[in-house]
Amino acid sequence: MIGVNFWERLQRLDRRVIFILIAAVVAIPLIWPPRPKLQISPPTQKVFDYIEKLPPGSVVALCFDYGPSSAPELDPMAYAILRQCLTKGVKVIVMTLDITGKQMKSHALNRVVAQLEQEGVKPVAGDDYLDLPYQPGYTAVVLGMGEDVHKVFPIGTAGGKTQPIGTWPLMDRVHTMRDLSLVVDLASSNTPTMWVLYGASRFGVKVAAGVTAVMVMDYYPFLQSKQLVGLLGGMKGAAEYEQLLKKPGLGMSGMGGQKWGHLVIIAFVVVGNIGYFASRRAARRAAGAAEVG
């Protein structure tokens, strides 16, 4: 029979033991990554279906509003969406409203283009994809795009070359935000709200969002009100998207660590509560015995 002292000692467990346990259960699946079959959530399915239905020649803006601290959750989404668009002839503009997103978008675009070229898909720089520079101002940038994209972004980069924006063939199709078929905002801050308020509400552009898991609940009301066409949430959203694309990647390979990390934390919470109630019951018994005495 486990005594109350055991539970009290367990509640005072050194936090470094907890740290080591968490590190171990998350690290081990990285060595032998599983390939689970995931239940696709409706918000993820909506994003996938919307892009899948876009005709070739449509232009999608992929906005990298995150930095390295959110890359493990949002990079897999970016790679999957870039791959889906470029393989089906949908043109992609990558941009960012976040100063740390500048390198993230360039890295992601160049990496996916290089992978596709190795697979025989050869997207044309400046016609199938274009990289627009970072501009500060958040709402100012979104509002400006609603009037004249060329004025907001004076230059564009593709295939290692930077030129005035009007010289790129892709930008012949895009003069205002209304010329975009979809804006996908991958964000670790509240930029999707800005895109919805200043883009969707004002200029009628369709917006989808990929956000970190911390923020996903904040955007469910926008899903329900149909201000967002779909929503990808965290690493699981990325893994679901990879499953739909039938191209497992970083999202899918992280699900093993997710599973065991979650189960360990659930165990911590349960054990912590059992110990709490056991201690409380013992304290009440002791108080009752003291009263009688």
């Binding site: 690290a27 230059i155 898991a213 911390v214 949430g233 965290g234 690493m235 970083l250 992280g254």
Partner: protein, 282 residues
């Protein structure tokens, strides 16, 4: 995640050096999990300096040069045939920001701040009304019996209606909770009570998602250490296939870890095991 291409200015060895630096900085930050120590402080200050320098570099080339310098002094570079003089007023307003360092003229620094705040506030009002208030209130007006392609039977229609009712009553209840102009008694009190329960469900859902987010970040770093740095020290993905053919790499990893523990132990002896100001007692 595969490593980024090497810096062209330095050659391919730059990638190897870069991965080593990234790994050592990662381990330096993680040393904080044991306790605050000089290695962590060093990495922390490197982060402060590098991130500030990053912001300056990016802003210079992506805003100052194409939006201010080139439109005025090199208009052909931005597709114009003559200088854009309308860039001068905001540039002057921006320069006024620096008057805050001169006490007698510091009031001028308010101009650009007021311009930005005023413009932002003016843009926010119609956006908030249209995109947040009106849209979300109208989206809460839902039918109590649903009949569409996904709700074809009476039972399904009633279930859909019940869910809609939960949403309607839930939104009103939460707004009741946040209404502090009257005491929470009677109907308002009951509504506020239900609102608290729904808020607890929402916060629980947020916590559940937060766990996923934090573990994702940890997976990202461990993946870097395992896949990018690991092969350099014999601890990479090849581990799953059997013992390393170059056991000296294990030795390098072991020596590094010993060095890290040595510094931590020295710091522990020096401070006598006392918690520093950045640590909290649990």
């Amino acid at each position: 995640m595969p490593p980024a291409p090497p810096a062209q200015a330095f050659g391919p060895e730059a990638t190897i050096i870069g991965i080593w630096i990234g790994a050592l900085l990662t381990l330096a930050i993680y040393s904080f999990l044991y306790r605050d120590n000089p290695i962590y402080k060093l990495a922390e200050h490197v982060f402060v300096g590098v991130s500030a320098g990053y912001y300056v570099g990016v802003t210079f080339w992506d805003t100052v040069v194409p939006k201010v310098w080139q439109p005025l002094f090199d208009p052909f570079a931005v597709g114009r045939d003559r200088p854009d003089l309308l860039v001068i007023p905001p540039a002057l307003l921006g320069l006024l920001i620096f008057t805050r360092f001169f006490p007698r003229a510091s009031w001028l620094a308010r101009m650009p701040i007021c311009f930005v705040i005023g413009a932002g506030a003016g843009a926010a009002i119609p956006a908030a009304v249209q995109g947040l208030v009106m849209k979300h209130v109208s989206s809460t007006m839902l039918p109590l019996y649903v009949h569409d392609d996904t709700h074809k039977t009476v039972a399904a229609g009633l279930v859909g209606g019940a869910q809609n009712l939960l949403l309607i009553v839930g939104v009103i209840s939460v707004l009741c909770y946040f209404y502090f102009s009257k005491p929470h008694k009677g109907v308002l009190g009951a509504g506020a009570r239900f609102g608290i329960w729904l808020l607890m469900v929402a916060f629980g859902a947020t916590f559940g998602n937060t766990v996923m987010a934090r573990i994702s970040l940890l997976i990202g770093r461990l993946r870097f250490l395992h896949e990018d740095w690991g092969p350099m020290v014999g601890l990479g993905p090849q581990m799953a296939r059997g013992p390393s053919a170059q056991p000296w790499r294990f030795a390098v990893a072991g020596l590094l870890l010993l060095a890290l523990f040595g510094v931590l132990a020295w710091h522990e002896r020096r401070t006598g095991g006392r918690p520093t100001s950045t640590e909290t007692e649990e």
